[in-house]
């Protein structure tokens, strides 16, 4: 029998490395933490099963069948398995590669493909185009249609996915990217210069959150520079299996932010942070090794940065609230940051943290998963909210726009009163005005 080639039945472009797949020793520890396995009790929908399918394709024991592609997209890419894995296998990443393979083997049908290409290759790479394409949505909200749809229940007649989308969309205001000053001076004793990576979703959907991030950094003694020419971090492209566009965007951001001459690069979006930390791997061999290393060393999530630099608490006002914290997958599992957000919460005077059960379990948003797998997403959200309910805090804290949208829509649907706040909004309330 001849040795199977390393690619086996994979398409040669953007295939997962055989090395990364072989590292799985099948101990099964991941089964305990995988949300899709918990729901299905089906091995192929578990991390160990998915790695085994990839291995079978790589070893020529299986074609890249539609079922393999389905599993790649049914994976939430929540990376909980990476945290649980003793051998350091990253099944989420292997599945991202398999999503690229799916595009190669089974490209989407024409209209869906055109829409996908428009979103990934034209709209997301161009902030200006994205901002205009959301304009009709803003108009629709202003006209009060949103209110009418919600109140009168017209959305019952819309297809389920539109209902979901409708439930997710908050009131949109002007994108922050166009309004935030390029440079904000440090307040008080200067502690350094921070480049702020303003993510698309943050700028468009949560501008007030990112405004707080910039305000906090400045108040804490950091000069904040926010490059206007920032591009999408590439996370949606990796998630959809378009690694080529992701690399193109990454290369632009790499130059832009290394040129910003800052001590660190901070983001308040867990998804962006996770993607930025992966540039080194994404651009390996395609950009200068030393520059990639330098870029990687500068990336910080806002909580990570504040916990590391130390929060100046002298001027903080008490915020008398009980809070519970939902850990974004891309923070806890993608970046291994579980302690720092809690340290930041712990520094705010008056705040009491009440831990919820399974705080690091996916909320079901998972990028576009919430729109593609409505039923699975709903069940994950219900599981999450049942724990939120038991924790019984005044406020639900999180740190990622995707989770934020999903949690708000779920709480509204269940008639639960807690507001959802990004961790910087909570800290922002403690800052002197």
């Amino acid at each position: 029998m001849s040795e199977p080639s390393p690619m086996g039945n994979f398409h040669p472009v953007d295939a997962p490395s055989y090395e990364s797949i072989l590292q799985c020793m099948r101990c099964g520890f991941c089964l305990a933490v995988c949300p899709t396995y918990a729901l299905t009790n089906r091995e192929r929908s578990s991390p160990r099963g998915r790695a085994a399918l990839a291995r079978a394709v790589a070893e020529g024991n299986l074609e890249f069948t539609p079922a393999v592609g389905e599993e790649a997209f049914f994976c939430l890419d929540c990376k909980a398995c990476s945290t649980a894995c003793p051998s350091g296998v990253r099944v989420g990443t292997i599945m991202e590669f398999c999503r690229s393979q799916e595009q190669a083997f089974h490209p989407p049908s024409l209209p869906a493909g055109v829409l996908r290409d428009f979103i990934l290759k034209r709209m997301l790479p161009s902030p200006a185009l994205m901002e205009t394409s959301l304009l009709p949505l803003r108009l629709y909200q202003r006209l009060g249609l949103q209110w009418a749809v919600r109140r009168l229940g017209i959305n019952r007649f819309l297809p389920d996915v539109l209902v979901k989308l409708e439930g997710l969309l908050p009131l949109l205001s002007r994108p922050l990217r166009l309004e935030i000053p390029t440079v904000i001076p440090a307040h008080g004793k200067r502690r350094g210069r921070v480049a702020f990576f303003l993510g698309c979703a943050m700028s468009l959907v949560f501008p007030e959150v990112s405004r707080q991030t910039a305000r906090i950094l400045s108040q804490q003694g950091f000069e904040v520079v926010t490059p206007r020419e920032v591009k999408c971090c590439g996370a949606p492209h990796l998630a959809e299996g378009d690694r080529e566009s992701a690399r193109r965007l990454a290369a632009i951001n790499l130059d832009l932010f290394l040129g910003a001459d800052a001590d660190v690069i901070v983001t308040d979006c867990a998804g962006c942070g996770c993607a930025l930390k992966e540039y080194e791997e994404l651009l390996e061999g395609k950009a200068d090794h030393e520059r990639l290393g330098r870029f990687r060393a500068k990336i910080r999530d806002i909580s990570e940065f504040l916990a590391e630099a130390g929060i100046r608490t002298e001027e903080l006002k008490p915020v008398p609230l009980t809070v519970t914290y939902h850990e974004p997958c891309h923070l806890v599992h993608g970046q291994g940051l579980s302690g720092p957000p809690r340290q930041v919460i712990g520094k705010i005077p008056g705040v009491e943290l009440r831990e919820m059960k399974e705080s690091s379990w996916c909320c079901g948003m998972a990028g576009s998963f919430a729109l593609k797998e409505l039923e699975t997403s709903r069940r994950l959200l219900e599981r999450k909210l049942s724990h939120v309910k038991v924790a019984g805090a005044d406020v639900l804290i999180t740190a990622n726009p995707g989770c934020h949208l999903q949690l708000v829509s779920g709480l509204r649907e269940l008639g639960m009163k807690q507001p959802v706040l990004h961790i910087v909004e909570l800290l922002g309330r403690s800052l002197p005005s």
Partner: protein, 475 residues
């Protein structure tokens, strides 16, 4: 390949959503955590109740199919790998805890209940189910019974066998059995229960388990000691036991494991040390204090190079971190991790370590050893790459010679992983033709047709059809 009629019949009896026959599903029901072995069943069935299991089994009889029972497939000897094809009978959907009986101190559960779920459910009532195999977060109770799983608490609290009171299930011929009960004393007839425990799915299909529960310990004390010479660590273990102190945990890690953990965690472990002992005593607070003092005295007498004692829970967690991370740290080093469980009388520990060092040199293999020193149960773990046939050959030669030595010291070829596929030849060495012959007759009495989990335990029964798929990883 099964006919459509058979599949339809199964679907009708067990529920369409519980029957899998696509290649993508069958491939992932063809392995467990044992390296280098892959099978491929013809169908995988996941009944959600005993009636479903009975129906599936009856179809197997009609078709003459082999049946391999599967829990969470975390086994390390290949017990749940369907190397003869046929049906994989998965029990993970039979996962209800049926009863916690506080008057008799027992719990009864379906076989697919996850070990830690049972632990938590009884803990909520102030009770304790001690067996804690390394895979307890995923492993099933039925799998634990079938493999007679051990764990870290084995030394003081015993292993799965010591807690099983009753079993229910099915034989291949359809006979339903119920063996044992809630009686503390029970000497009626042969103990079929005890034959089934550790039978690796070759005698019957266990669908229900009743276990014994105890009171949890009220207090715990954690100590950590380092040794420049591994023989001193071995001596410390012997003297602790000789002093009639039975710690709940008495774990050892060798130099290579210490260094793997330090490479991975960077928590400042002393790389120059040859061994680490992690010791936890638990029980009544007064006894715990006395035993902790006794352990400390012994560690000082044998001149351990460093001794740390935890003052509180956070410190205890820090001390146990290295041991808890051992497998992770070791498994990251290489693609293929071959975890063995050579076990010796605990007085022979130091000798065993010396032999491991000698054989590592002889065969030029990388082996990190950690394990349950108090049980004499070691996990020499080979760090290899299955793409390198020479290295794999060396690893197997290393283990083969090590087991020779282990047996000569009165040890056993498996402390807690079972025989399955991976250790059949070692078992023959341990028992000889005579011993194996007796086991064979027991097997024939339960399953005369040899249709339950064929190809396991007995070396002569590996079916020629074992090679089920293309590729380099077949049996």
């Amino acid at each position: 390949m099964l006919t459509k009629t058979v599949i339809d019949h199964l679907r009708q009896k067990v529920g369409a959503e519980n029957v899998y026959q696509d290649r993508e599903d069958l491939l992932v029901y063809g392995y467990d955590a044992t390296p280098e072995i892959q099978g491929l069943p013809d169908v995988a069935v996941f009944p959600d109740n005993v009636d479903g299991a009975k129906a599936a089994l009856s179809i197997c009889r009609e078709e003459g199919l082999a049946v391999t029972t599967r829990g969470a497939a975390t086994g390390l000897s290949g017990g749940s790998i369907p190397i003869a094809g046929g049906m994989v009978l998965g029990l993970t959907r039979m996962n209800r805890i049926l009863e916690i009986d506080e008057e008799n101190l027992t719990a009864t559960a379906e076989a697919g209940v996850i070990t830690v779920d049972l632990f938590n459910a009884v803990a909520a009532r102030g009770l304790f189910y001690p067996p804690d195999p390394g895979s307890q977060n995923v492993s099933t109770l039925g799998g634990n019974v079938a493999e007679n799983a051990g764990g870290l608490r084995g030394l003081k609290y015993g292993v799965t066998r010591n807690y099983v009171m009753a079993l229910s299930g099915l034989l291949y011929d359809g006979t339903e059995f119920q063996t044992g009960g809630k009686c503390v004393k029970d000497v009626a007839g042969y103990s079929l229960r005890d034959l089934l425990i550790g039978s690796e799915g070759t005698l019957g299909i266990i669908t229900g388990v009743t276990v014994r529960l105890i009171s949890p310990p009220q207090d715990k004390r954690t100590l950590l000691a380092y040794f420049r010479d591994i023989r001193t660590a071995g001596e410390a273990v012997s003297r602790i036991i000789a002093a009639r102190i039975i710690p709940a945990t008495l774990e050892i890690m060798d130099r290579m494991t210490i260094n793997c953990v330090e490479d991975y965690m960077k928590i400042g472990l002393p790389r120059e040390m040859a061994a680490l002992l992690l010791i936890e005593v638990d029980g009544h607070p007064a006894v715990v204090a006395e035993e902790a003092q006794g352990v400390r005295r012994i560690l000082e007498e044998v001149r351990a190079d460093e001794v740390h004692q935890a003052g509180n829970a956070a410190e205890a967690a820090r001390l146990t971190a290295a041991r808890r991370t051992a497998l992770s740290a070791v498994a990251r080093v290489s693609p293929t991790t071959i975890l063995e469980d050579a076990t010796v009388p605990r007085s022979r520990l130091a000798e065993t370590f010396a032999e491991i060092e000698r054989l590592k040199e002889k065969y030029q293999v990388r082996v990190a050893t950690f394990g349950h020193a108090g049980d004499g149960n070691l996990h020499p773990t080979a760090l290899a790459d299955e793409r390198n046939p020479q290295e794999i050959k060396n690893v197997h030669a290393f283990f083969s010679e090590l087991y020779e030595k282990v047996l000569s010291m009165g040890g056993t070829v498996s402390g807690e992983h079972g025989i399955g596929i991976a250790k059949k030849s070692y078992l023959l060495r341990q028992f000889g033709e005579g011993g194996i012959g007796v086991m064979r007759r027991i097997k024939d009495a339960f399953d005369p047709g040899g249709r339950l989990n064929p190809g396991k335990i007995f070396i002569d029964s590996a079916p020629p059809s074992a090679v089920r798929i293309r590729g380099g990883q077949n049996v």
